[in-house]
């Protein structure tokens, strides 16, 4: 098994690690860096509980190797809150009851955050499509859609 030294920026902080080639990004985050907000819910890239942003794009970190993140920027759920202020997507999920057990929530938040960066004013259909790679077993998605709509409105209000 080959071993590799990598440098990864996570939520703006630089980290160095020596990892096996097969070591998954999600394990680097959860076990090496102890950022346990990113969860693991399946083995087949279906559930999206492990979604993080890699150079701003949502990826499922259970199917990204840690070595693939070498020299790149990773953002996890722990990076959403800035200076003690919740991101609008976090506020939205709390306000609109967009979570129940909370297990899918970090992945759902990261996907939502990336959606609103890309498309600040998504329709309900666009929201549903954007989160269709993230499974939630508790909420039936109705309130997740509302949460993201709330966050979109909040972002607009903050900009204007």
């Amino acid at each position: 098994m080959s071993s590799h030294s990598i440098r990864v920026s996570v939520n703006g902080a630089a980290h160095e690690a020596t990892v096996d080639a097969r070591y998954l990004l999600v394990h680097l985050l959860r076990e090496t860096l102890r950022l346990t907000g990113t969860h693991i819910g399946c083995d087949t890239t279906h559930c999206g509980a492990c979604t993080v942003l890699l150079d701003g794009e949502p990826v499922k970190s259970c199917t990204v190797l840690a070595v693939q993140a070498d020299g790149r920027d990773v953002m996890t759920v722990e990076g959403l809150e800035q200076g003690g202020k919740l991101d609008p997507v976090q506020e939205g999920f709390w306000q609109e009851h967009g979570l129940q057990c909370g297990f899918c929530t970090p992945g759902m938040l990261m996907t939502s955050y990336a959606l609103l960066k890309r498309n600040p004013d998504p329709s309900e259909g666009e929201i549903r499509e954007a989160i269709s790679g993230n499974l939630c077993r508790c909420t039936g998605y109705v309130n997740i859609v509302k949460s993201i709509q709330y966050a979109a409105a909040k972002r607009h209000a903050e900009v204007s």
Partner: protein, 788 residues
């Protein structure tokens, strides 16, 4: 309902934002796999590729050479301590690890303990097992045929695969009634195996502290206290004594019934930690979760109704074959091998009924847990709501009219059903009428008639279900002999803040919020000032846990009763402080005041302080109380759902155009949370109706054993649910509440099936088994010559 308390207090009826959410939205929840203990080892499991085989040999030598692998545990190792078998909750037995035979595909065969997850997985790959395949029994009907291979050869004298027979009602009387009936309909209905598939899989960390002789298990369990007792009963003979076992159920990523059973993995991890003396973590992957954990449903039902020509339903008969897999590991109360299936007379006033069921062994994983339902209520509701529509077709009657005609009328409550339940309260016609109005039922029927003329396929389906939840009264309900009470313990601190602990365990239901609101309602202490804890058996009072929608009906009631005990003591203290008699005091949430002199008052916070600083002579200090609540009856939530579907004649795709759900769960604690429970429940009702199934081929190979094939609904398939309510309080619950977490999962499937059948009824279709896949529908369209 207008809340009795202010928004600052946030008692019942307020849509309080959830107290648990700040940690979850920051990624700071604490789930089992998030916990890392010093020196912790990892366990991974070798599983059988065969559904039925003899184990001729297990070679662990290569596995032990894998760097990081410390041990491989087999059934032979556990047999030395008599831990290779364990009892199930239904008085059956199941293997922890096999010594000679495997009974289903993906069964645990051996466990590898290593210093990392990766090393443990390498070790699993390196274990060599020599199997000799045996004949496989997959079909429960064939399992009952004479000459079928007998699966449970471990049971002395067992000559067939029959587990149990269960029946309720008057067999002979019902038979006579059916023979003489004007109209009879009969329908085979299969509810296939499905899996709860909570997004967090199961797992644990077993941590045996040799110095203290104490075992702590961090575990994905919905019932931590019962699990502690089970562990003590299973492993008492090797020195695990209940006072030295601590079960901690931290944040759970969903449960839905799948985290009630004791799975072999938990027991092996405990054994490994005790043997090695270090913490051992075991976390299933998704395929293990779907392939080996307890399934739900798998009921083959034949339902019959007898009726008069005018549509009055007079008789019901249901015969069921229940496929339990190789062991009866259902998680039912002891006296109910088929759960609460005898609620199958549903919302209707039926005079003659009989139901019988036979449990059968097959080469499939053991189980029979709920999938977000109270002990087989979903099966019962599916049978009655489906056969009612079959009768409507037979009589050429509108299914809404047929239901309205047969509902138990409001004035008959409490209603004693012919199969033995006493329904607490209900107003079924009101719920259905509301749903019909909301969806515009008459207009939809007109639209359907016009569309039919044009060859377009549109259907409207109704389900008017009655649930039975909140198990349960101690005279009938126990698990392993432990009565199904639940508990609450409240301590009010000197500064007027409080901590409340419960015997249940939230898996997303929001207990930290709703229980605080219950205490706030009763004591007037702001819910924000009440910390709620559950899940640690060293601190929480003993309770049976959260499943079967029992938290609000049982533990919630315990919370109210404990709070009322505190209020009684607070009254005495207030009388002392105000120097009046207790009878001269009036309570409003948060304070006692003197009758006729409302300016003379003491707040609950002032009283709490006095309880520690200035309590009356002769009274013990402190302000706390515990309640173990034994419910006098179950609760019977109900609702009416109406679903509208459009079917694509080219693909067979069913699209839910609208779905209106009117639920009645009695008095409501937090309307926002209730709506969320219903949204989620509806989605888990739609899932088996249209998407999910775990089936097996003839060799017992699982189909649908990963998220590649097991189709959990995404936001794309899930419609925008429309929800509303009626409120019919429970007369016996201290808060008038009934429980709501599972209603929608129970009620939704037949509404969807009825809608699809309704869309195709003019083509002669009477029934379709779930899941109603596009392929199934397209095949029907092709047969009927209407596929495009």
């Amino acid at each position: 309902m207008t809340p009795k308390t202010s928004a600052a207090v946030c008692g019942m009826g307020h849509s309080m934002k959830r107290k648990e959410d700040p940690r979850f939205i920051r990624g700071q929840g604490r789930y089992v796999d998030d916990i890392q203990l010093p020196g912790m080892l990892y366990m991974d499991i070798v599983r059988s590729p065969y559904a039925h085989a003899t184990i001729k040999a297990i070679d662990i030598s290569q596995a032990l050479k894998v760097p990081g692998v410390l041990a491989v545990i087999t059934g032979q190792d556990l047999a030395k301590y008599n831990l290779h078998w364990m009892p199930t909750l239904m008085s059956d037995t199941q293997m922890v690890l096999p010594t000679d035979t495997v009974m289903y595909q993906s069964q645990e065969v051996a466990a590898v303990i290593a210093t990392s997850r990766y090393a443990a997985a390498d070790g699993v790959d390196a274990v060599e097992v020599d199997y000799e395949p045996l004949p496989v029994v997959v079909d429960p009907f064939k399992a009952l045929e004479p000459g079928a291979p007998v699966l449970r050869t471990d049971k002395k004298g067992k000559t067939d695969n029959h587990i149990f027979h269960w029946e309720v009602g008057d067999r002979a009387g019902t038979e006579r009634h059916f023979a003489a009936a004007d109209v009879r309909v009969k329908q085979d209905i299969y509810l296939p195996r499905i899996h709860v598939a909570s997004i967090e899989t199961c797992g644990c960390i077993a941590d045996f502290d040799k110095a203290m002789g104490k075992l702590t298990v961090y575990m994905t369990t919905q019932a931590p206290h019962a699990i502690r007792t089970v562990f003590a009963l299973v492993a008492g003979h090797v020195g695990l004594s209940e006072e030295r076992i601590r079960i901690v159920s931290p944040d759970l990523g969903g449960g839905f019934g799948g985290k009630v059973p004791v799975y072999p993995g938990y027991v092996i991890a405990v054994a490994a930690s005790v043997l090695i003396g270090k913490p051992v973590k075991w976390i299933e992957d998704r395929m293990e979760n779907l392939q080996a954990d307890s399934f739900a449903r798998d009921y083959h039902m034949t339902a019959e109704l007898a009726a008069r020509k005018d549509g009055t339903i007079t008789g019901l008969r249901i015969k069921t074959i229940a496929d339990h897999g190789y062991a009866d590991a259902a998680a039912n109360p002891s006296k109910f091998p088929a759960g609460l299936f005898s609620i199958c007379t549903g919302s209707y006033d039926i005079k003659h009924a009989f139901t019988e069921l036979d449990g059968v062994y097959t080469n499939k994983p053991p189980g029979g847990v709920a999938y977000r339902c109270s002990f087989r209520v979903t099966e019962a509701v599916h049978a009655i709501e489906r056969i009612t529509d079959v009768l409507a077709l037979e009589l050429k009657m509108d299914p809404a009219e047929l239901r309205m005609k047969n509902f138990i009328p409001p004035e008959k409550f409490p209603y004693k059903s012919v199969l033995g339940w006493e329904y607490d309260s209900g107003n079924y016609a009101a719920a259905l009428a509301k749903a019909m109005k909301l969806i515009g039922y008459a207009d939809l029927r007109r639209e359907q008639a016009e569309k039919r003329k044009r060859g377009e396929l549109m259907g409207i389906g109704i389900s008017s279900f009655t649930e039975i939840v909140g198990a349960g009264p101690s005279k009938d309900f126990d698990i392993l002999g432990i009565k199904m009470f639940d508990s609450a313990e409240i301590r009010v601190h000197p500064t007027g803040k409080a901590i409340a602990r419960f015997g249940t365990k939230s898996q997303g239901q929001g207990h930290e919020t709703t229980y605080a609101q219950i205490v706030a309602e009763e004591l007037g202490i702001p819910a924000q000032d009440i910390a709620v804890e559950e899940g640690d058996t060293d601190t929480a009072p003993y309770g049976l846990g959260t499943y079967a929608s029992r938290s609000t009906p049982v533990a919630g009631a315990a919370g109210a009763m404990a709070a009322r005990k505190i209020r009684d003591k607070a009254r005495k203290i207030a009388a002392h402080l105000l120097e009046v008699a207790e009878e001269d005091l009036e309570w409003e949430p948060g304070k006692f005041s003197v009758k006729g002199a409302p300016q003379k008052a003491k707040t609950i916070q002032e009283i709490a302080f006095a309880a520690y600083t200035n309590h009356p002579q002769g009274m013990e200090a402190g302000l706390e109380a515990t309640s173990y609540y034994d419910p006098p009856n179950l609760t019977f939530p109900f609702g009416s759902y109406i679903c509208v579907v459009d079917i694509d004649r080219g693909t067979g795709m069913v699209k839910i155009r609208r779905f209106v759900a009117v639920d009645d769960c009695g008095n409501i604690i937090n309307p926002m949370i209730v709506d969320g429970q219903i949204h989620g429940g509806l989605t888990m009702g739609m899932a088996p109706a249209l998407l999910e199934e775990i089936s097996y081929d003839e060799e017992g190979n699982i189909q649908g054993g990963s998220f590649m094939d097991y189709l959990v609904p995404t936001a794309m398939e899930t419609p925008r649910w429309e929800v509303d309510k009626t409120v019919t309080p429970s007369p016996h619950h201290p808060l008038g509440a009934k429980g709501v977490g599972e209603s929608a999962t129970v009620g939704a499937p037949p509404a969807i099936v009825n809608a699809v059948v309704d869309a195709l009824a003019h083509l002669g279709v009477r029934h379709i088994d779930i899941p109603i896949t596009p392929e199934k529908v397209w095949t029907i369209l092709k047969e009927k010559g209407v596929a495009e």
